[in-house]
């Protein structure tokens, strides 16, 4: 599971920052993610602008807490099938925002940890298949605030739809083949887990009522 690195939550710019070499960074991130990260991956992410450029200590590249946070977040999102271009706007926020996104993801990961089956490879392929074939952007960045204040990439990807009463805009997400979720720009998804669960439960109840009604 991804744990926030110790001490990084209190972002005090004056505090002497702990710096890592590339190896240490890979090791720390690898431990927390439970997967091996190669130096090539980190270099690629840095070139793509997903991770800030490393600092320099003589000839050596050095990394700080922010790099670690970014790396953890990029990997966690990539594992859920987000393309790097979709991830880019999500890792540009300040340290606190990164931290918050990570802990949100953490909740989700814990909930969906699959039982370890005999054919790991097949499970793995199924998992990347479902994520790769999902054309809609993630709901993740929509937590806690109205969509209108969210990242430009999401605004760009919205599908225009107009309600009758006002000219409010709607976002469209595919949940499954043939099933879409439409969210008004003014809607906000409760950010905390408990409230979000209650909100989801209400939605499920509503949906169930509709279906029962049809029968």
């Amino acid at each position: 599971m991804v744990q926030p690195p110790p001490g990084s939550a209190s972002a005090d710019p004056d505090a002497a920052e702990v710096l890592y070499g590339l190896e240490q960074l890979l090791e720390l991130a690898g431990e927390q993610l439970g997967e091996e990260i190669s130096s090539r991956t980190v270099r690629l992410y840095a070139t793509e602008g997903l991770i800030d450029r490393p600092g320099k200590d003589g000839r050596r590249a050095v990394y700080g807490q922010r790099h670690l946070l970014q790396l953890l977040l990029v990997r966690s999102l990539a594992r859920r099938g987000l393309s790097l271009s979709a991830i880019a706007p999500l890792v540009a926020g300040d340290d606190e925002a990164l931290q918050e996104q990570l802990s949100q993801l953490d909740d989700g990961l814990e909930a969906s940890t699959p039982a370890r089956e005999s054919n790991d490879a097949l499970d793995y392929l199924h998992s990347i298949q479902s994520s790769a074939s999902e054309p809609s952007p993630s709901l993740l960045p929509l937590l806690g605030a109205p969509l209108s204040s969210r990242s430009p990439s999401l605004r760009a990807s919205r599908m225009a739809g107009r309600s009758n009463a006002s000219s409010s805009r709607w976002h469209r997400f595919q949940l499954a083949p043939g099933v879409e979720l439409h969210l008004s720009e003014s809607a906000s998804i409760p950010p905390t887990r408990v409230r979000r669960e209650a909100w989801l439960q209400r939605l499920i109840d509503r949906l169930r009522e509709q279906l029962d009604h049809q029968e």
């Binding site: 890979l26 090791e27 054919n119 490879a121 097949l122 793995y124 790769a132």
Partner: protein, 420 residues
């Protein structure tokens, strides 16, 4: 039957009274295939051939691809499994994974392959990998063979994201080889896939070479003795590892990843260590080679320790350099510097690219002109000429040559390089 590790320093001692920069060649050698094993059945293969049938594959390329696929089916036996997947903008499992009891089943299916639309390369890989995964056999060699002549332009196309997914599958026991065909494929993507896939990279300019490539791939698979090979170099007592000339990818534990080990092979890794003034009999470094063996369940490993005689700095300078080590270092350096030429080309700086090729050649010219050095200089001369006529092709070849230090890269027989 196991691989062995050998150390060969550029100079046979380190300084007692001053810092030393130690250039060291680490050779991983594997024994040739013993005769009694040649008679014994090889491990079974569980393969999928994923064929690009996008529009650009039309004509002779596709006809050779069909021919080579028929050859592959003919070489396999009832103990092996093969699936065939084609992709354009859609993916088609032409033959689901099955034992190769009758090659004709495969051949008649292969004959139906027609060229189509776009290049959904990732989806093709995914469908092929699924065919292998459904039949995953830890005692077999499980591999995806991906043949493409195009740029991925449909579905997931980001090279880093594709490589990350391929790497995930490698960790779960299925490797991927990437074969680029013609002049339109994305050499950076194919290189990244082969590296992440722990497989072979091939770049074939003519489809005529396909059958040779498949034959060599089968040969390589059946003589594989180590997969997921890693080299852990631990400098001791204040010594520091400052460079690995092969530019090998590193895993979290800080170990360097080597290509698959095959019988009768020698892999050279060039490293540079920085040492403070050194005490006699003090260990400089330990090197640990670890690999997964097709025969054994647990991970195999072996460790060697490096100690060198110490001498006063003044005497050290008098010592002869080992010409074999000097040559290997120069060759590794030349592979690495090809990346600079590629970068210059990417920036549209033809002069800069030509300049770095000339600089590489100059350094090689200062060495004794062994056969290997002459071959290398000839490759560079070709690139220099090609760069002005066909920049795309020269970039592809430079990329392939740069990856020779860190990957199994297929070389056709008519190239001057020997295929390891």
């Amino acid at each position: 039957m196991n691989p062995s590790l050998h150390f060969r320093p550029l100079r046979p001692a380190v300084a007692a009274d001053d810092a030393t920069t130690l250039d060291l060649l680490i050779t991983v050698a594997t024994p040739p295939l013993p005769a009694e094993l040649m008679a014994r059945p090889r491990p079974p293969l569980n393969l999928v051939l994923v064929i690009d049938r996008s529009g650009s594959m039309d004509g002779s390329k596709l006809s050779y691809a069909r021919k080579a696929a028929r050859f592959l089916a003919g070489e396999l036996t009832a103990r092996d499994r093969l699936a065939i997947v084609t992709f354009d903008d859609e993916v088609n499992v032409l033959v689901p994974s099955q034992a190769v009891r009758d090659p004709l089943t495969f051949i008649s299916a292969i004959n139906t392959i027609q060229a189509g639309g776009c290049t959904a390369l990732f989806d093709g890989w995914l469908a092929g990998a699924t065919q292998v995964a459904q039949q995953l056999d830890p005692t077999a060699l499980n591999r995806v063979l991906l043949l493409s002549d195009g740029q991925a332009n449909e579905g997931l196309t980001d090279a880093g994201a594709i490589a990350a997914k391929v790497e995930g599958l490698t960790q779960r026991g299925i490797s991927t080889s990437a074969f680029g065909l013609g002049s339109g494929f994305d050499e950076d993507l194919m290189g990244a896939i082969a590296a992440a896939g722990d497989g072979t990279l091939a770049q074939i300019e003519s489809p005529r070479q396909l059958a040779d490539l498949y034959a060599s791939e089968l040969q390589g698979l059946t003589s594989t003795i180590g997969r997921k090979v890693s080299l852990g170099i631990r400098a001791k007592h204040g010594a520091e590892l400052v460079d690995v000339l092969n530019d090998l990818p590193q895993n979290v534990a800080g170990n360097h990843q080597l290509p698959n080990l095959r019988h009768g092979q020698e892999l050279n890794v060039g490293v540079r260590l920085q040492l403070p003034a050194w005490a006699a009999n003090q260990e400089i470094a330990s090197v640990r080679l670890a690999w997964d063996s097709p025969q054994q369940q647990s991970r195999q490993s072996l460790v060697e320790h490096l100690t060198l005689p110490v001498q006063p700095q003044a005497e050290l300078e008098e010592l002869q350099c080992d010409p074999v080590v000097a040559e290997q270092f120069a060759l590794l350096q030349a592979n690495r510097e090809r990346r600079q030429a590629i970068e210059a080309l990417d920036q549209g700086d033809l002069q800069g690219a030509l300049f770095s090729i000339a600089a590489m050649d100059q350094r090689l010219a200062d060495l004794p002109q062994s056969e290997a050095i002459q071959c290398e200089r000839q490759l560079l001369a070709e690139k220099r000429e090609l760069m002005q006529q066909d920049r795309n092709l020269s970039r592809k070849r430079l990329r392939r040559e740069a990856l020779r230090s860190s990957l199994n890269v297929w070389e056709a027989d008519d190239d001057n390089q020997t295929n390891s």
